[in-house]
Symmetry: C2
Subunit: 194 residues, 2 copies
């Protein structure tokens, strides 16, 4: 890993939380130089434009979360346990190195909707991957006899995603932790009833 690659990585790591908190349009080059301590020339020597940094930062934030989830899922053998890992992870997300600013998919979905199609595409892709992962857990759980074999797999997966994202949004907006606990309680019930 040569100097250039290291600096590139450094820029991504330092700007990722800023992009996630302030959004794409809200993050200026000045924010980026402040976050990194580097100058504009230095940043533009490693990236073609702000878009490239934003995209790389988004990927970084996504990977941050998927790594945590994968780790937590691995702790459980049953597929119900793996699904419940979402509940417990998000319910204690202060314990984990979650990206500052919350869920990057949620953040990107609303802002980049009309303004930044490339970023929106990445966010949609990430959501799709997440959906597939949950669907796979449900499908395998059905095969293992853990879940009802008549479970509508895609619908259940989408419902889990919606509850998690809705929960994150409400918690972020209100700051009330018992709101989060309440919604996560419902999600747990939903998963246990599959």
């Amino acid at each position: 890993m040569n100097k250039a690659a290291r600096t590139k990585q450094f820029i991504v790591e330092k700007t990722a939380p800023v992009f996630n908190e302030k959004g794409y349009a809200g993050t200026s080059l000045t924010d980026m130089t402040n976050a990194t301590g580097l100058t504009k020339g230095s940043i533009y020597g490693n990236f073609a434009n702000k878009d490239e940094v934003a995209l790389a930062a988004f990927e970084y934030n996504i990977r941050q979360i998927t790594d945590i989830i994968r780790q937590e899922k691995a702790k459980h053998d049953t597929y119900r346990g793996k699904l419940l890992a979402y509940v417990h992870t998000y319910n204690n997300f202060l314990k984990h190195p979650f990206p500052a600013g919350g869920c990057p998919i949620l953040n990107t979905a609303t802002e980049a909707d009309d303004t930044h199609p490339a970023l929106k595409e990445r966010a949609a892709w990430a959501l799709g991957k997440w959906k597939e992962a949950v669907m796979q857990d449900i499908t395998r759980g059905i095969l293992q006899g853990e879940f009802d074999k008549d479970t509508p797999v895609e619908q259940a997966a989408l419902t889990i995603l919606a509850m998690v994202e809705g929960c994150l949004m409400i918690t972020k907006l209100t700051g009330k932790m018992h709101y989060r606990n309440a919604i996560m309680q419902s999600l747990e019930t939903f998963i246990r009833e599959l």
Copy 2:
């Protein structure tokens, strides 16, 4: 209603969809003059600054939705019917004059989180009002014997909100209508099981 008040209203109506689509930071004064056909001087003669217009536009978008929901709820006598009105309204929201850009609470929650505290406060307030309305429907439904008397009222209300907002986010990001239908199906089931 004198000229000034009419112009103020006109500015709000024309800029409200722009703010909701592009966000607060993403909407420039040029966007506002384009949307209204007025000049900067004219806008600043009626509002102190961009903040004031953004706040008024947010209130306008919120009222737009609450009016529709109130109307749809009034069509049903039962409280279960009133709750299901959320499902049916959002499921056919193309039929209604919903604000362009989707749910203003969702849009504001993510963007204004760190950047615009006043707007965030209004969004949190609107969400709180919504939560209270749903809780009231559930409480009255319990008194009427429609719902199980052991229903955790606040938890159920928050879950409904989370599912709706999560659904809106996923639909906005992916554009897939059958995702929306699936999640709304789960919400309907949830309400019917209260």
